[in-house]
Symmetry: D2
Subunit: 424 residues, 4 copies
């Protein structure tokens, strides 16, 4: 039986959808449960949003795209939320400016929770009507996958905010980190081929995974696992951050302008290499995948070892047959870990998002959805790079081989690592 809820074989699809709705929505609330109102209100940088805003925005998504147009007599919880919780949908109307999301002490956390309950109650009414559910199912699925994306952002944005605090507070203290064994890096070879990539049409996918199409891939090899902290520490020790010949020009400027000398959250000031995590300040584990690096750092490391980053097509065609197993958000250990049970080609899913060298661009034949929902992905296809495979903060039910995450080359606050590739 398939353990991925999105391709359920249940005879009553609307029942499954309603159940999935409850599961996903309550997972979001569980994430916020240990947090104070203040923890949920603060925004530490323009790229990140307060937890409270994530809680509201995900509800706004259902209200705006499903309840308002499709549920008769639906009453907006609060008209002002239409603006406050709009992220970037120009077609929906005005937006509260992104860098000012952290200025909103009101609505208080309790009201945002009440807003969630109001939306959930209305969604429950809608989901109880089998006639509607079939037709709206793709849109509701989009809303749930959207919510899962914000679950991961809640964790990464919260981590950044807590890291700015000299008290270095832990979100979930006293978590036991799994120990893993050391694994040598091996190379898995792939012959040249005209591969098919993109979503195959089974189950949910975002529009940016479509259409499925052919790409020619030359002979190459992929590393058996992501680059580890231990390996990365050797790059640092070899003056990797001080040798311009290893860096993209824009990366070298970025590094010098920001005084970058290690991955984000690393702190070696007390003699031992430590890192800030959602579970407190912990020593860097050599066998775990390196994390919180930019594309620039990933690319420089690859050049240092005479390798390169994989393309999206290389990654996806290699991952297509691999089971989606690994260390995910459901484990509630929000830090990449060494593998405890190793395959010869492994850790593609979970632990860390893997940077690829592929610019985020439309697939041949790409068509965004009609209306405001079409703004979801397509308008960001510029100056961003694709990451693959999900992380320790990604829900297991959210990821797949064709999934394309994307961030600018300098972004580091996501759980981003990388795997090496080379030409044959």
């Amino acid at each position: 039986m398939n353990d991925r809820p999105r391709s359920t074989l249940s005879p009553d699809p609307s029942f499954a959808l309603a159940a999935r709705y409850r599961v996903v929505r309550s997972a979001t609330e569980q994430l916020a449960a240990p947090l104070s109102p203040e923890d949920c209100a603060i925004q530490s940088m323009p790229d990140a949003s307060p937890v409270k805003w994530h809680l509201g925005h995900t509800s706004w998504f259902f209200e705006t795209f499903i309840l308002t147009p499709h549920l008769k007599d639906y009453a907006l919880y609060e008209p002002a939320f239409r603006v406050i919780f709009n992220s970037y949908y120009n077609a929906v109307g005005a937006k509260h400016p992104r860098p000012q999301r952290g200025l909103l002490s009101r609505p208080p956390l309790d009201v945002v929770r009440a807003y969630r309950a109001h939306v959930d109650e209305a969604m429950a009414r809608l989901l109880a009507d089998p006639g509607r559910t079939g037709e709206l199912s793709p849109l509701i699925d989009l809303g749930l996958n959207h919510e899962q994306q914000h679950q991961e952002l809640i964790l990464t944005d919260l981590k950044h905010m807590l890291s700015c605090n000299p008290l270095q507070p832990a979100y979930l203290p006293n978590v036991e980190m799994p120990a893993g064994q050391e694994r040598p890096l091996e190379w898995v070879e792939f012959e040249e081929a005209l591969v098919e990539i993109g979503h195959d049409g089974k189950g949910f996918a975002f529009d940016n995974e479509k259409p499925r199409h052919r790409e020619f891939v030359a002979a190459h090899a992929l590393a058996s696992r992501p680059v580890s902290n231990g390996e990365y520490m050797r790059f640092i020790a070899d003056d990797g951050y001080r040798r311009p010949e290893l860096w993209l020009s824009e990366g070298w400027d970025w590094l010098n302008a920001n005084g970058i000398r290690a991955p984000l959250y690393w702190d070696g000031s007390n003699g031992k290499q430590c890192r800030f995590t959602l579970h407190g300040v912990l020593p860097v584990v050599p066998d775990a995948p390196v994390c919180h690096v930019s594309l620039f750092e990933a690319d420089a490391y690859a050049r240092w070892v005479g390798a390169r980053l994989p393309t999206g097509a290389e990654w996806e065609s290699a991952a297509a047959g691999v089971p989606i197993e690994g260390h995910f958000a459901e484990d509630r250990v929000y830090e990449p870990c060494p593998r405890t049970n190793c395959a010869s080609f492994d850790q593609l899913f979970g632990d860390v998002w893997e940077w690829t060298q592929s610019a985020y661009a439309p697939y041949p034949g790409f068509r965004p959805a009609a209306g405001a929902i079409g703004e979801y992905n397509g308008k960001f296809m510029c100056n961003q790079y694709v990451l693959r495979g999900g992380s320790c903060a990604t829900p297991r039910t959210h990821i797949r081989a064709s999934y394309r995450n994307f961030f600018p080359a300098a972004a580091r606050w996501q759980f981003s690592g990388f795997r090496l590739a080379r030409d044959l």
Copy 2:
């Protein structure tokens, strides 16, 4: 009996000091009482601080300058607070960067309140020892006046933060605003004189009010009251904000760079001239003093009517004999109001701070206090301008004729207005 605590005639000065300590400290807590943890955590601009930070910093002041050096066996509540709640005292050590005060979700509000209680309990012990109180009395007085300054900043910083919220929330809704009568502006004349200004040594004063010294003041006239909203609206209607000949060069650049067309918090977008206040959005009252204007705006208005701003010496020598009466923070109406009971030379104290043309500079013979306390005032004597008289957010017991407040010329989030002067 004299209602101003600073010149008490009580036979037991230490008793009065202990009582005053309790009164001032609890006034701060009353200000925060209607606020949620989120309201107290957010910082809306680098110049403003979160309410929670003000609550902590004022306690840090007593802990750092009084308890740690002077109370035997005093235990720091939390060593990390030494850094977090240091404002700008380099001699005390490291400081958490001012623009990042709003990133501190921890310590939570409850812990900061516990910190206050810890400090208050220790201060009570210290104040119970008459032998110590005499010697420490000036330092404790400084701490209490410092706390009163932060009471005003709590209100102005909170007002700015709430104003950034599209919901336009009120801090204290449903307050009844006193109505006042219209008063024509009259000119009060003063002959040339060698005046004495600066603090006369009775009661508490900050170091920047000292020493008392002589200044020569030419013949001049002062307006009988501050400029009103009604008068200022005529300046706007006469294109005051669009005529470069009325403005200081730096003011003209500031105005254009920031699109300034009215006092801060004014909003005429719904056809009627309204303003955001701590009591909600209210119509602009023509007879109340204009408020939340920069020195640039005050100066341009004065040029428009062929007048000028007073100097600090003109203001202080005129105010020296005037009773300290007016509309202060104790009234809990945090908005300047029309006068209900008019003198011929009036409203010098309370309602609005009055910009002067005097740059904030040391008085002849000025000596800052020794040690870290010497950083309190002196190091800011550059590129700031002096304001006089206190506002509706200033405690009545905090102000006096010699008091010198100071802000940069572009600052508008304080309750700042102005009074006209002219040469004779």
Copy 3:
């Protein structure tokens, strides 16, 4: 006989190389001939360089990479030029900061010309030695192609600088612009194919055109010619610059932050749509290709008509068989013009560089050259987009189908236009 020098059939290759050297170098000097010392010294933005710097830097290239390592007894003209005229080669040593190239009143223009003569004299000695020329021929070819790139930059940087002058001075006034006929836009169809792109090894190419490799291209159509000014004016008239749904998110932010409402250099302030050119202010010609647009504008226009930009592989495989004819720098009319003699699939070369949707990235198997020369192209392969085909400011002998130019998405001061594509 072949008029493209790079594939000469001359029996004495070194003679041809020496001749080519003289032709290319003197072409650079001819560009600067009409300019005053002041015209050559000023830098109008960090992206652009003064003409004088281009004159020096191209000489520095020969001095640094050919004369110093390979000509015995070569004496540096001036050691300080090693720093001043280094563009971005970290391996060569220190660089004068790019944004400060316009601060160098010294060396004066005459000295830079003497520097060129010094380098040319030494190069003539080297080129007279047939034993060396064969071995160094690839490096000298690189130097000459590098010089041609800077010839184009001299024109684009000069144009930007002159455009900043309210006098709107012309570089070459009184040029007769060729008139052309109107041509309807037609679609040329291409079937899906596994195409080969990249340089085929005949004659000179930059490393970023290699290696030749296969890409799979789906069925598509390309427009028969670039988008014209007339068509683009209809986009503007249809509120193209005010409709967010047409724009990439980053483009929409860029447009609003910079108040963009038309291509660079367009000026409609006098009632008629004019443009600043190197030949003075001239009316916009409807039948000429639109020029000086960013990738953002090209992409928005394409979305407006329901089309898209071509990929690099689509463009190159279509252009591979097309003769390199068109309107180039040798014509000394530095403005794109209507075509006078139309083919059914035309204007691929010359007039305007054509934006593609392809991010500038390494080809599979890409290897930069060893040493400092390896910094030439590879380190810029991030956050830039590929343009194809050359422009009216490109030397005819410099362009080829496999040529990849690259600029950031917001760049507009190059002669950049675009051609439409669509899926079949």
Copy 4:
């Protein structure tokens, strides 16, 4: 006998005015004579202007305020210059933006010189008419004093521009620097007094020196000479730039943001303390006045020795009786020098402008001139500080005791030093 050249006793004042006009105007041209067109075109920072712009602007001043309104049939040399060479007179109309003055390669230097000749020829006609000269004399005097101010700015702006060049070019090489003797610093005492300051009405003065008025000055002492390089080097050696307790808060931030560790133009990188001058790179002379320091540095030094900066009233009342002798621009040694012939209270005029602690503010009763000329001084009376006494780059005929120069506290590219004061 009158020692001030500007108030000649010639029986024909108009003749004297015409002669003075020629002398002052030609002095400006002599300054530019050694410079190339490129030297005259480049702008190194927004605060500084190109020499060519100064040459044009000073001519524009006569054209705009004297020739156009007062010379019948005067024909503008070029209408576009009305905008290009307007500095900051809003009442005159549009201005070319100050930071873009360095983008104007056209008009070329020769045309600007022809513009000067055109204006001079017209002024000669005007000055030949005795009937007009008397009436216009104050305005012409203003134009000449304005021109002298720009003579000094030509030198300081040129110095900054040349200093940005890694070639470190000299404006006037091979100048012999006068040697001087060491002089101990002595204190000159002044009793408290009601002094009169401001211009006394004899000869020319700017409006900001008026009206003459009384100020009360407490007993104080002034140093016998400015602080020397040798003394300042001891401040540096005592970690003066690293001790926050010595600095104004804004100065401490400025110092850290800009990495300030010595006066502008100092360079100790080759083991010896040198400085860039208009005569080449020279060793720092211990007995010469320290120069190119900000108000922040002057103030910090004074605090380090337990002194302070003088007020403007202290400086002016002390200088009122002192002959205007010293080292001025006419000596063509553009660097402060040790005194060769010492008085007990000395070097008030020439060598270095002396920072005072006085904010630049209107004198009591100040009235700017009517019309555009009123923008000359008054609108800058905010956030600037007064300097006194002129420098080695000031014409001897331009300075007087009542003269008030003004710059922001962080400005260092003027020839600015300081003298100590202390309370008695």
